[in-house]
């Protein structure tokens, strides 16, 4: 059986204790989107500032467990300064690592261990997850997967809102 060290990697605890990009952005011009995990009460607030198709700035607020908060912190570092298409690739790569399949980004995520329905997301080629790979151990604890994906789902929703009507 998987041990706790698979779940609580040192880098995860570091992001939990010292979260990056913590705080708020004035909205507008930034977009503010809230995400909830009704099972455990985790709350994530993503503030994202999209300028010329790039995530110019991002802040994370809210409260939750070490997995949800560290995942949000790592995500904020990973997407800051990236273009929207790069963020989309990262999101898909992260979701693929979490073995998540779902009908749409931002929708109700379904833990699909081993892609039960055979339609797990394919990881885009050449995308480097870096620190985010530390969260890979979460898939061994299925009830925690939603903790890790909460911030990514919330970001996807925020970016949808931020770019709505600009295309």
């Amino acid at each position: 059986m998987p041990g706790l060290e698979d779940l609580y990697r040192e880098i995860i605890l570091d992001h939990y204790r010292s979260p990056r990009n913590r705080g708020e952005l004035p909205a507008p011009p930034a977009t503010k989107t809230e995400g909830f995990n009704p099972l455990c009460g985790d709350e994530i607030v993503v503030y994202v500032d999209v300028v010329d198709g790039t995530v110019a700035d991002i802040r994370i607020d809210g409260q939750g467990c070490s997995i949800s908060q560290s995942s949000a912190s790592m995500m904020s570092s990973a997407v800051k300064g990236k273009t929207l298409s790069e963020v989309e690739d990262l999101t898909r790569a992260f979701k693929a690592m979490m073995s998540i399949h779902e009908s749409s980004l931002g929708g109700e995520a379904t833990a699909g261990e081993a892609g039960a329905d055979g339609d797990a997301l394919e990881a885009p080629e050449g995308v480097k997850l870096g620190d985010l790979e530390a969260l890979q151990g979460v898939v061994k604890f299925p009830v925690r997967i939603k903790c890790a994906t909460l911030s990514w789902n919330t970001l996807a929703q925020a970016l949808d809102e931020a770019t709505a009507g600009t295309e």
């Binding site: 455990c40 009460g41 409260q63 467990c65 070490s66 997995i67 925690r144």
Partner: protein, 418 residues
């Protein structure tokens, strides 16, 4: 003699544990420490066997069948209703409605009594420590009927603050309150509130889901007009609950769900509902589950509900002391500090460690606790927390379980905040 020493005297927990097959197993190579009975209790062999024996020998759909098997099944189902009535001090078995769970019972009160009796200018008074099941049905009905919802606040001592009760009750038609908080363990002064409510012309709907399994219950002495609880929290099966209501109220209420079993007659012009309890039991009810609930009541009666309560008071006292000693100042135990004022529900918090993480580490110790908001988000907001890790005690728990909880909690605290 200290309260701790009496724990073993009140109930023979070692013998009780042998009645619960699930407790024989090990998890992660350790003794299973099940501390989540407030969510759902484990089942003794007598309940499991009563249900399978009934299914093997006596099962048929109830009512109206003329063959002997159907008669036997009907008789057993109605015997279960009588057992429930006796267990809660109901004057008549006809006042006992079998539902799916306590949630359905509370929805029945809102959907039937509430829809027929509430409108603009009326008020429903709830407490801030209600479970969502005694909040959301009233919000749903409020959207349709436009009445006011008022809140009895929770004080700093985690008891209900009744200082403003008279004003809250002015113009109220119903008070909905929990008899025991599923988060804080707080026992509420149901009788006192009921007397005040009745004097103000309001009915009292009690969420007794955490109360009936743990405390001797007399719905009449309590001053309730309705009381709802679930079978699965009182060592019975899931899928069955009970709504008790005073006969004259049930008689005047319209049906809740429509369908077979709840009518006197139907023609192409309309229908005439049957009398209670059939009026509120549309469709095939949880028949096997009623047999299981009867066996659960027999099991609790054999232990004696006074003994169950005494056991939990002393074990809660032990837990409050042992956890504080072992874990120290980092630990917060939400809820009243006096065991006589509370049930064995311990909502735990460690400074700077999220309950979800606490529970994860505690699982390594085979200690089952529940992290989250416990379907009481308004109360969480009052407490100023997002979630707690809840350990809850029942008849099969002993000081070994509490000691294991203390060790696991201390380990979890050290893991995240060394």
């Amino acid at each position: 003699m200290s309260t701790t020493d009496t724990t073993a005297d009140v109930l023979d927990v070692a013998a009780i544990r042998r009645d619960f097959p699930i407790l024989e197993q090990e998890v992660h190579g350790k003794r299973l420490v099940f501390l989540d009975s407030a969510a759902s209790a484990q089942k003794p062999r007598s309940v499991i066997e009563a249900m399978s024996e009934f299914a093997e020998n006596d099962y048929a759909n109830i009512h109206r069948g003329v063959y002997s098997l159907a008669e036997r099944a009907t008789a057993r189902y109605e015997e279960a209703r009588v057992a429930v009535a006796r267990f809660i001090g109901a004057p008549s078995a006809a006042e006992v409605i079998f539902t799916k769970n306590a949630t359905e019972g509370l929805n029945l009160v809102a959907g039937s009594w509430g829809r027929a009796n509430l409108g603009p200018g009326d008020a429903v008074v709830l407490t801030q420590m209600e479970h969502h099941s005694n909040i959301v049905p009233w919000f749903q009905l409020q959207q349709e009927k436009g009445f006011e919802i008022r809140w009895i606040p929770v004080g700093a001592d985690h008891m209900l603050d009744l200082s403003d009760l008279d004003r809250l009750l002015d113009g109220a038609k119903l008070v909905g309150l929990t008899a025991m908080s599923n988060v804080l363990g707080t026992l509420t002064p149901v009788r006192q509130i009921a007397d005040a409510a009745h004097a103000a012309g309001a009915l009292v709907c009690v969420d007794a889901c955490q109360f009936v399994p743990h405390v001797p219950t007399d719905v009449v002495a309590m001053g309730a007009d309705f009381a709802a609880f679930s079978g699965h929290k009182m060592v019975g099966p899931s899928g069955i609950g009970v709504l008790w209501g005073r006969a004259e109220l049930l008689d005047a209420m319209p049906p809740f769900l429509g369908g077979g079993g709840m009518i006197l007659t139907v023609d192409l012009e309309g229908f005439t509902p049957d009398a209670a309890p059939a009026k509120f039991e549309a469709g095939t009810p949880p028949i096997i589950e009623a047999i299981g609930l009867h066996a659960a009541i027999d099991y609790l009666n054999a232990l004696g509900m006074d003994a169950v309560r005494a056991h939990e008071v002393s074990l809660t006292a032990y837990a409050l002391r042992a956890l504080t000693e072992r874990v120290g100042d980092r630990l917060t135990i939400h809820g009243p500090s006096e065991p006589a004022q509370r049930g064995g529900v311990l909502s735990l918090a460690i400074d700077d460690v999220h309950p979800h993480d606490l529970a994860q580490v505690m699982d390594e110790h085979a200690v089952c606790v529940r992290p989250g908001h416990h379907c009481a988000k308004p109360l969480m907001k009052v407490l100023g927390v997002g979630a707690t890790a809840r350990a809850s005690l029942y008849v099969y728990n002993d000081t070994d379980d509490v000691d294991a909880l203390a060790v696991a909690l201390a380990d979890a605290a050290d893991f995240f905040a060394p």
